[in-house]
Amino acid sequence: MSVLEVCNIRKSFGGEEVLKGISFSMERGEVVAIIGSSGSGKTTLLRCLNFLVEPDQGSIVVNGETVYDSETVTNRSEKELRAKRLHFGMVFQSFHLFPQYNVLRNITLAAELREQELLKERKASKEEKKKVMAQVTETAKQLLSQVGLLEKQNAYPCELSGGQQQRVAIARALALNPDILCFDEPTSALDPALTGEVLRVIRGLKSSDRTMIVVTHEMEFARKVADKVIYMADGVIEEMGEPEQVFGTPKSEKLRKFLENAKEGL
């Protein structure tokens, strides 16, 4: 069974159709890279998956559960919406860490609030609460060492380099254990010298049960790390396939042009 099935997603902003029917599916543990020129709708697609914008049409199915279907959409409660959101994690281009909290707190904040809610629902005992919260902190530390920043756990975001901030943001997204982790150009706001460390971390996350969608302009990265590459142009999936095929033998004229420009660094 696919982890994710996206079917015919459409989205317009003020009469201009930005997504014109996007469909694809992903298997567990798969990494999909989305490439495409500016304005092709890549960010909008990720924002639809994370319910930051509501699609006009289409459906999203995660692990067989329909999390969105424009046909049956009703006024969802905030609670339902939040539960559905948690299937997805999001790493933003410009990190959006919480500046007033240190690195560790940035990672534990949402997870703790979530656990508190669950504990309250099943009227857990004080000891259990303590145990769960200790577990949250423990997990956060594990994630921090995974992104190589355990020694920075008490630092504030403003004391970190862009690359370090982005690695914290990755750990923060992972702390809620999403089924699918989305990255929106995770290295575009970074100095070229810092992109490497972030891409290495993302690459290191690849495992049999971690499914990721990475919007990127780093063609080398897409080629090496992705299992599947989606090329978007003007709101449609112009071409999709294995990296070898997309980069090696592109069929569409648009993609060929795009790859040529990317090579010349345009």
Binding site: N50, F51, L52, E78, R82, A83, R85, L86, F88, G89, M90, F92, S94, H96, L97, F98, P99, Q100, L109, A110, L113, R114, Y156, P157, C158, R172, A173, L176
Partner: protein, 215 residues
């Protein structure tokens, strides 16, 4: 009249000054928040109405507002006037709430939308996002302008004398009128300086406390 006598009499006025000062803060700080929500409302009529009211309050002298609230009800409806001090407090609270609301609005609107979105994708509720993420950042941003405004309030309390509330300035004025000595008028400057000096130090401390992070 000896220095001690004058000081004692001025202290009575000073108590009223401080009363106006603190009660205005207690009323205006929360009322300002409500007004700021109104002026950021998604409902256009409410937003428009709130902003118009704020514009009128900020666009007219506080002294005029005190006079209108004290004499207005009697002149227009023939109603009994509010007690003097109460009229003054109503005018001060409304006036300062309007100024505070604009400071809050500026603070809230300056928080990048990415902060809200980061909270949303982490499954946080709107309330959690406001209280756990946004509020503290807003406070950090509004402390300096709030400090300015609150120091201005210390001095504005002297406007209460237009409806014969005997606060510090009126107390001095009365002594000057009765005894024919002028120096108490200058002497009250020291009281205002003392309070605004203390507030300046207080706000500098708060700012420093909040300065552990940038952004």
């Amino acid at each position: 009249m000896s220095f001690i006598d004058v000081t004692m009499q001025l202290l009575d006025g000073f108590k009223v000054t401080m009363l106006i000062f603190f009660l205005t803060l207690v009323g205006a700080i929360p009322l300002g928040l409500i007004i700021s929500f109104g002026s950021m409302s998604k409902l256009k009529p409410l937003r428009w109405l709130t902003r118009t009211v704020v514009w009128i309050i900020r666009g007219t002298p506080l002294m005029l507002q005190i006079i209108i609230i004290f004499y207005g009800p009697g002149l227009i409806f023939g109603a009994a006037p509010l007690p003097r001090l109460s009229s003054v407090l109503v005018a001060f609270i409304v006036n300062y709430a309007a100024y505070f609301s604009e400071i809050y609005r500026g603070g809230i609107e300056s928080i990048p939308v990415g902060q809200y979105e980061a909270g949303q994708v982490l499954g946080m509720t709107k309330t959690q996002i406001f209280f756990k993420i946004v509020l503290f950042q807003v406070i950090k941003r509004i402390v300096p302008p709030m400090g300015n405004e609150i120091i201005t309030l210390v001095k504005d309390t002297s406007l209460a004398r237009v409806v014969a509330v005997v606060e510090l300035a009126k107390a001095a004025q009365d002594i000057v009128g009765l005894k024919g000595i002028i120096w108490p008028t200058f002497y009250i400057g020291a009281f205002y300086l003392l309070v605004s000096g203390a507030l300046t130090l207080l706000f500098a401390r708060i700012e420093k406390k909040l300065d552990y992070y940038k952004g």
